[in-house]
């Protein structure tokens, strides 16, 4: 079982966002960057599948500038075997980014290619399924359960008002949602081992693509609200406001 996990480096979800001078990106100053939280589910799934199979290889693949190597090491510390740093910048067009990844993955002999269901920075939610299309592989997005047996995968995914159960043959591309597993924390031993694991650097160039970011702005502030009172005694005032002002009851 050979498994690729494609990861992204993103601002920590607790980070406060400010807009950089050019008005099309965030100001990274003072922002802590971490592995995309959804990618951790993909990393955990890959390591657990290899452990269950008792053999195989897990590979982290990350597109980005050199800072992404720190994030790659996190996945190696968790237990991934080796990594490839696709050195370059992704495009604002998810398809251009997907083409870079697909070109690298093609012919790699992977049984599974895993992604997080989305990256919590640009919320693009497209590179995984696009890679699947480009490689003409089966694809399931936002999975919350996964079983692999006899060369096929059975997955569950949450849809509005239900859970979809689907199967596909391997090789396949899957994107992982919260609920799939509980990602392990890297231990000291893992962190030490990660320093010695192979990390191959491959320079790449993404095309400009057909999507252009025009601007990035903070959302409008909500108008200031008010405290209607304290304790249960304030309930009548709240009901009055919801009935006659907000008209939502």
């Amino acid at each position: 079982m050979k498994i690729a996990v494609c990861i992204r480096r993103v601002p920590d979800t607790t980070a406060k966002i400010t807009i950089a001078g050019g008005g099309t990106a965030i100001d990274p100053a003072g922002v802590k960057f971490v592995i995309n939280p959804y990618d951790e589910f993909a990393v955990e799934a890959a390591i657990a599948l290899k452990e269950a199979a008792g053999a195989g290889e897990t590979v982290t693949i990350a597109l980005g500038d050199d800072s992404v190597q720190e994030t790659i090491r996190t996945t190696l510390a968790m237990g991934i075997d080796r990594a490839v740093h696709l050195q370059g910048t992704g495009s604002a067009d998810g398809l251009a980014t997907a083409r870079v990844l697909a070109d690298h993955l093609r012919g790699g002999g992977y049984d599974l290619i895993l992604f997080g269901k989305l990256a919590v920075d640009d919320y693009g939610q497209q590179v995984g399924p696009m890679v699947a299309e480009l490689l003409e592989l089966p694809c399931a997005t936002a999975i919350t359960a996964l079983e692999v047996a006899d060369g096929s995968a059975t997955v569950e995914r949450e849809i509005e008002g239900g859970t979809e159960v689907a199967t596909c043959p391997l090789p396949a591309v899957l994107t992982c949602d919260k609920g799939l597993n509980t990602p392990r924390l890297p231990g000291l031993k893992g962190i030490m081992a990660a320093k010695k694991k192979p990390l191959e650097v491959v320079p790449v160039e993404a095309a400009a693509g057909q999507a252009t970011i025009v601007s990035l702005a903070l959302p409008p502030e909500r108008p200031a609200g008010r405290i209607v009172g304290e304790g249960a005694a304030a309930v009548p005032a709240l009901i009055e406001a919801l009935t006659s002002e907000a008209k939502v009851l």
């Binding site: 601002p11 979800t13 607790t14 980070a15 406060k16 966002i17 959804y38 067009d93 998810g94 398809l95 997907a98 919590v120 640009d122 919320y123 939610q125 497209q126 399924p129 696009m130 299309e133 997005t141 936002a142 949450e158 849809i159 509005e160 008002g161 239900g162 859970t163 979809e164 159960v165 689907a166 199967t167 596909c168 949602d177 609920g179 057909q210 999507a211 252009t212 025009v214 601007s215 990035l216 702005a217 959302p219 909500r222 609200g225 008010r226 405290i227 009172g229 304290e230 304790g231 249960a232 304030a234 309930v235 009548p236 709240l238 009901i239 919801l242 009935t243 907000a246 939502v248 009851l249």
Partner: protein, 321 residues
């Protein structure tokens, strides 16, 4: 290639709600370009509710019928849309679990840019300009998409309108395709509850509840709104295992925009606020008068939620008659 294609979802032979909204989004683009809107529906047999689509904005209603379409069949849908794509300026889906699964695949198949979770869209010269929340709503990105664009429109972002179009029915051919993924079944939830992302009213709880059993207080208030309300939760209590991930509102959960949002014992961490700040009306109940949730709430009550909630549930019940 000026027409706009709107891909509508059906399950078990009935259209999913959200079709009129998606047609309204399609009309925004079409009317600006003097173009027409085609709706397309995929099913295994005849479907109900298609006769209302003209009124909601469809000039034509295309039906694609195939035995494999009894369940969601992304490979068949992508193949069919790709065969038609040359005639369209934009291809729209709803940004639902299904729509978000489809849009990138279609885009990759036809070599088009893809805008996900779009909340605003307009023709701007040669491009389609879309706005979309990023960083879970902490920022708004404006993007220009050139050529034929594939756009997943966030439910609730664009209101349905009455358009009075013909909605003329027309069958389209499903080309040969390889079914790579097979949906075996759709399991209904154990309790038939409305999804937190689709609910008109969300009653959300956080650490202030103190114990998972106290979600009962929230369920009682939600029950007063009948099938319209869902229980939500902060990341802290989901990670603590008090309630399932499907209820989580915020940056690693769902982004919601209900008419009415109750934040009960929710402090208002930045990643939670990001997921609910576009709710129409926000009510916060918290013991800590300095809790950040009060900065976004329209109405707040400072106090012990165990004292306030029973009184609030009774009062809402009375107010709704």
């Amino acid at each position: 290639m000026t027409a706009i294609l709107a891909i509508l979802e059906q399950r078990d032979g009935a259209l999913r709600k959200g079709a009129p909204e998606l047609l309204a989004a399609a009309r925004q683009l079409a009317d600006a370009a003097g173009a027409t809107v085609d709706a397309i529906v995929f099913g295994a047999a005849d479907m109900a509710g298609l006769d209302g689509l003209g009124a909601a904005g469809a000039d034509r209603v295309l039906t694609a019928t195939h035995a494999d379409f009894a369940q969601y069949c992304p490979d068949g849908i992508v193949a069919t849309v790709a065969a038609l794509a040359g005639g369209y300026r934009a291809i729209l889906t709803a940004a639902t679990a299904t729509g978000k699964d489809l849009a990138p695949r279609i885009a990759a198949r036809i070599g088009a840019p893809c805008g996900m979770d779009v909340t605003g869209l307009a023709l701007q010269g040669d491009v389609i300009r879309v706005t979309r929340p990023v960083y879970a709503g902490k920022a708004i990105q404006t993007v220009d998409l050139a050529g034929t664009a594939v756009i997943a429109v966030r439910p609730g972002a664009i209101a349905a309108t009455a358009a009075g179009k013909a909605g003329a029915m027309s069958a389209v051919e499903v080309p040969a395709f390889t079914r790579r993924l097979t949906v075996r079944e759709v399991r209904a939830p154990e309790q038939a509850t409305v999804d937190v992302a689709e609910a008109r009213v969300v009653v959300a709880g956080g650490r202030g509840l103190g114990d998972p059993k106290h979600f009962a207080l929230l369920e009682e208030l939600a029950a007063v709104f009948g099938g319209d309300a869902a229980v939500g939760a902060s990341r802290a209590v989901v990670d603590a295992g008090w309630i399932g991930h499907g209820h989580q509102v915020g940056q690693t959960g769902k982004t919601v925009a209900p008419e009415l949002y109750f934040a009960i014992g929710v402090s208002g961490a930045i990643q939670h606020l990001a997921g609910m700040r576009t709710a129409k009306t926000i009510v916060a109940i918290n013991r800590d008068k300095d809790a950040p949730i009060f900065k976004v709430a329209d109405y707040g009550i400072v106090g012990d939620l165990f004292e306030v909630m029973p009184a609030l549930t009774e009062a809402v019940k009375k107010a709704r008659g």
